[in-house]
Symmetry: C2
Subunit: 305 residues, 2 copies
C-alpha cells in the first residue's frame, strides 16, 4: 500500500445464526453499512469475538468480504494469535487480499514474557510472511491480553522493520501511554490509533491517525464526523456527545450490548447472540440499554443488516 | 474408561527441531521414558507450549503416540482453547484414541467472564463431543490463564454432568483452594490433582488423586516414588528432596529450564529450543541450573531422548 489507512475503524461485531455459526451474508451487509458511514473495517478484533472463531471461520469471512467487492484498502483484519504459524497464515491471507494492514495481538497465553520473546515472535511473523506490502498495527490491550507491548519493544521493532511496523492500537485506557507513543513514534510515521473514541479528539490534537473503537459498530457516522471536523469550533461538543452514547453501552458488557443494539435497530433478533464464554444481555439490561440510547436520541440510520 | 487415571502425570515438554517444528520421534521417546518411570502423559499442557502449537501439530503428535503403541489409558491431553469448535475437535480425537481423559483450559482470551458463560462453554463442548467415554479434568491455572474455575462452577458442572466432569488440576498455587476442592468434591468421585509435586503429599493425605507437575518431566521416578510410598515413614523426607530439585528449576523460567536439563542429560542440544514468546536459557543461567542440580546429585537415568 502506498497510502496509509487513517480515520475511524470499527472492530466489527460478528453475527451468528441460531446455531452460533458465523452468518457471512449478514456480516458483509454490516461491513458495507460501516463503509457507507466512512468507517474502516478492523474485522476480527476483540469486539468481533475473533478468538472464539476458528481459523477457517476467520479466513472464510475475510474471503467473503473481498468476493463481495468490499474495499480491501479499508480493512485491517486482526491476525494475532498464540501460535506463530496461525498468525502467519491469517496475515498472509490479508496481505494477498490487499488489506491496508493487520492488527496484531501479541501471543497472549503466557504472562510475564520478555520483550525479547515478543520481539522474536513479531520478527518471525514478518520474516515468514516475507511480503513488502505487509503493514502491522501492534495491538496493545493489556486489560484483556494481559501481555503489554512496551515502548521499548516498539522502538526495537520500528528500528529493525521500519516498513512493516506501521502503527498501534492503544487500548490500554491510559492516556499517558498513548501520549508517549504519539510523541515518540508518530513523528517517524508510526500511526497511533486510540483504542476508543473517548480519546479521539486528544489523539488527533497530538497528531495521531484516528481511533479503532467498539462503538464505531453502532455510532459510526457521528464518530467519523468528529474525525472529519476535529478542528471545528464544536469539536469538544461532538466529543461529549460521543462519550454520552458510549457511556450508555459501558453500563453493560460491551460486546453483547452492541449486538443487542444492532438487533434492536435492525429488527433481527439473532444479532444479539454471542459465543460462550460471553453471555447475551438479559431482558432487563437490554431494555435499559435501549431506553438509555433512545433518551439520547440515538439512531442507526440505514441499518438493515 | 472404567478405571480412573491416578498418580503422577507430566505436562510433557514438546521437543522442536532446529526450525522449531515439533520433533515427533523425539516426543514419542520422551513420553516412553516417562511411562517407563510410571509417570502419565498430560501432553499439551502449559509446559508443553501447547498454545504455541497449531491444531494440526497437536493432533499429529497425539496420533504419533498412539501409532507407536504408547498406552492411551495413561494419557490426558490438554484440549482446551479459546474456541469451542477447536476444543471439540481435539477432545473428540482424544476420546476416539481411548485416552484416560482430557485436561481442559477454560477459554482464556476474555477476562472477567461469568460462571454462566464458562458453564455454557464446557456444557457445549460436552454435548457436541457427545461420547459417554469423555472424562474432563478442569484446568484451574489463574496465574497463567487469568480465568479461574470457581468452586461454584465445578459444583454446577458436576451436578449436570457427573460422568463427564472427572476432576481438576489445581495450579492456583493456593493450598486453601486445593483443600476446598478435596473436601467438597473428591468424596463425590471428582479427582483432585495438585498442580505441582510441592503439594503432592498433602494432597494424598487429604484423599486426592495425585499431581500433574512440570518437574515430572525431569524427575519422574522420585516423584512417583513419593506417590507410591506416601504412607511410609520417610514420606516427608522424600517431599523435601523433591522440593529441593524443584527449587533449582524455579530460579529460572520453568519451561526453558526443564528443556535445558533434558538437553544436558540427553546430550541433544536442540532439546533446549522453545517457541517465541518464550526464550531459551542463556549460557550462564544454563550453567547455574546444571551446577545446582549436580550439587543435589540429580540425574535422569535412562534418558536418551
Amino acid at each position: 500500500m502506498t497510502t496509509r489507512i487513517k480515520g475511524v475503524l470499527s472492530p466489527v461485531v460478528t453475527p451468528f445464526d441460531s446455531n452460533l455459526k458465523p452468518d457471512a451474508p449478514r456480516f458483509v451487509r454490516h461491513c458495507q453499512w460501516l463503509l457507507d458511514n466512512q468507517v474502516g473495517l478492523a474485522v476480527f478484533g476483540t469486539n468481533s469475538e475473533a478468538n472464539s472463531l476458528t481459523l477457517a471461520e476467520r479466513m472464510h469471512l475475510l474471503d467473503a468480504l473481498v468476493e463481495q467487492g468490499l474495499d480491501a484498502s479499508r480493512m485491517m483484519p486482526g491476525t494475532g494469535s498464540c501460535t506463530i504459524e496461525d498468525t502467519v497464515q491469517l496475515t498472509a491471507q490479508a496481505v494477498k487480499h490487499g488489506c491496508a494492514g493487520v492488527l496484531m495481538l501479541p501471543p497472549f497465553y503466557y504472562k510475564g514474557v520478555t520483550d525479547e520473546g515478543l520481539y522474536r515472535y513479531f520478527s518471525e511473523v514478518i520474516q515468514r510472511v516475507g511480503d513488502a506490502r505487509l503493514r502491522i498495527y501492534l495491538y496493545h490491550i493489556p486489560p484483556v491480553s494481559q501481555v503489554p507491548i512496551s515502548l521499548a519493544l516498539i522502538e526495537r521493532l520500528l528500528k529493525d522493520y521500519p516498513q512493516a511496523i506501521a502503527g498501534v492500537k492503544d487500548s490500554s485506557g491510559d492516556w499517558n501511554n498513548t501520549l508517549a507513543m504519539l510523541e515518540q513514534f508518530q513523528p517517524h510515521g508510526f500511526d497511533v490509533f486510540a483504542g476508543s473514541e473517548t480519546f479521539l479528539l486528544e489523539t488527533l490534537r497530538h497528531g495521531g491517525a484516528g481511533c479503532i473503537s467498539a462503538t464505531a459498530n453502532v455510532n459510526p457516522a457521528a464518530i467519523h464526523a468528529l474525525y472529519a471536523h476535529w478542528q471545528d469550533a464544536d469539536a469538544d461538543e461532538r466529543q461529549q456527545a460521543l462519550n454520552a452514547v458510549r457511556s450508555a453501552f459501558q453500563k453493560h458488557v460491551m460486546i453483547p450490548a452492541m449486538k443487542r443494539a444492532v438487533a434492536h435497530w435492525s429488527g433481527i433478533d439473532t444479532w444479539a447472540g454471542v459465543r460462550p464464554p460471553l453471555v447475551e444481555l438479559d431482558d432487563a439490561a437490554g431494555r435499559q440499554l435501549i431506553d438509555d440510547l433512545q433518551a439520547l436520541k440515538f439512531e442507526m440510520p440505514g441499518m438493515r443488516a
